[in-house]
């Protein structure tokens, strides 16, 4: 565990010494909760429509597939006209595109980022690697099935999928959201223990709280 995460005594600017325990003090350990539609069906529908038309993607290119997101952000493919844009921070994003393989080291950051995103939030897996390990099926350092660790709403086939395929995927995701079927965040909350156990089984140096949003 990193030094700065250890419980230790700290001397404040006023000269007073006090104890800090970063993992307990700086994070909220309350788990995620299932969000039930609090409104009437018609309002929920309106909300889903709104959500589907504002897909904000976390700008975290986790693997190779990220390179095909760049053309989408630029004039030729211009995803912005579809209500899709990229955001630099999880707090502003509602879609996490896992762009291919995930090393266990990145998985740890992905989990943190995902948990910091606001519900309702969605996950799209790009390419073979997220489905069944892809060409790294025998690698010691990459996960094989993304859905073991995060709830996945959609997969897009390819290695890697082209920008057009990504757009097709986003269009499908919109349909799912509008149909009220993109329930990944709730699924994560409902099966939190299961996901957490899976995550911990591959991240051997788990040095963060179980839930840290």
């Amino acid at each position: 565990m990193k030094e700065e995460l250890l419980k230790r005594m700290v001397k404040g600017p006023d000269g007073v010494e006090f104890e800090v325990e970063p993992l307990r003090d700086y994070y909220c350990e309350a788990g995620p909760t299932v969000q039930t539609p609090a409104y009437t069906a018609i309002i929920e529908k309106l909300f889903n429509w709104a959500r589907s038309e504002s897909i904000w993607i976390l700008g975290f290119g986790t693997g190779c597939g990220a390179i095909e997101m760049r053309p989408l952000m630029t004039p030729r493919f211009d995803a912005y006209r579809y209500g899709i844009q990229w955001r630099p921070t999880p707090r502003q994003a509602n879609l996490f595109v896992i762009s291919g393989y995930l090393s266990t080291k990145t998985l740890k950051r992905v989990i943190r980022s995902y948990e910091q995103m606001q519900s309702p939030k969605y996950v799209v897996g790009l390419g073979s690697c997220t489905i069944n390990g892809g060409m790294y099926w025998d690698s010691y350092n990459t996960i094989k099935r993304l859905d073991d660790y995060l709830p996945v709403d959609l997969y897009i086939a390819g290695c890697m999928p082209r920008p057009e395929a990504l757009l097709a995927g986003f269009e499908d995701l919109k349909k799912l959201i509008r149909a009220g079927k993109a329930e990944g965040a709730n699924q994560y909350a409902e099966n939190f223990e299961w996901y957490k156990a899976n995550q911990k089984s591959v991240i051997h140096d788990w040095d963060m709280p179980d839930y840290n949003w």
């Binding site: 266990t104 069944n132 690698s139 010691y140 094989k144 099935r145 991240i203 051997h204 140096d205």
Partner: protein, 177 residues
């Protein structure tokens, strides 16, 4: 020819081992671990091999040895020389060369992590480099089985099965024989 001449000159002084000419501009020379540092310094300062191209290891598990390969480039003469150093695999240790090339420290850090070779005094040698929380034997060692590790630690998607054509045909066409 140039490489052969260089080898012949340096051989008595550094007790060089086997010489393998791979191309006109690339040769490999085996050298003892204790003479490596001096030889590298000589090649760098006297012979114009100023560029450390790479430093890596090969695991000869069967022989119980690691081969360290130091690849040097002489840009002016358009020559490359690879120095092979064989060290024991058990408690593998090698003298650090970060004092000759600053960049070597990174290579040595990687070799420590991926092969388990120690380079005493090399900066930040024991900090995690590529891996994080690694608990198994160093993964680039030949006795580390990556497929086995993957199968034990991760789950494949179920639903896969396959048949061997010859076995299937036997079963279908002449199984009763």
């Amino acid at each position: 020819m140039v490489m052969q001449a260089l080898y012949d000159t340096l051989k008595p002084r550094f007790l060089l081992g086997e010489f393998t000419k791979q191309r006109d501009d690339l040769a490999f020379i085996t050298v003892e671990a204790v003479r490596l540092h001096a030889l590298l310094r000589h090649l760098r300062d006297q012979e114009g091999f100023t560029h450390l191209v790479l430093l890596t290891a090969v695991d000869w598990l069967e022989d119980g040895q690691f081969q360290l390969t130091y690849l040097l480039n002489n840009r002016a003469k358009r020559q490359d020389v690879g120095l092979r150093v064989l060290i024991a695999r058990d408690n593998a240790t090698m003298e650090s060369i970060h004092d000759l090339w600053a960049a070597a420290a990174t290579y040595q850090r990687e070799l420590r992590e991926m092969f388990g070779i120690d380079f005493p005094d090399s900066p930040r040698l024991h900090e995690d480099f590529i891996l994080e929380g690694w608990q198994d034997i160093p993964p680039y060692r030949r006795d580390f089985d990556t497929l086995k590790y993957a199968q034990e630690n991760y789950r494949d998607r179920p639903g896969r099965e396959t048949r061997d054509p010859a076995q299937h045909m036997k079963q279908q066409l002449y199984g009763e024989d």
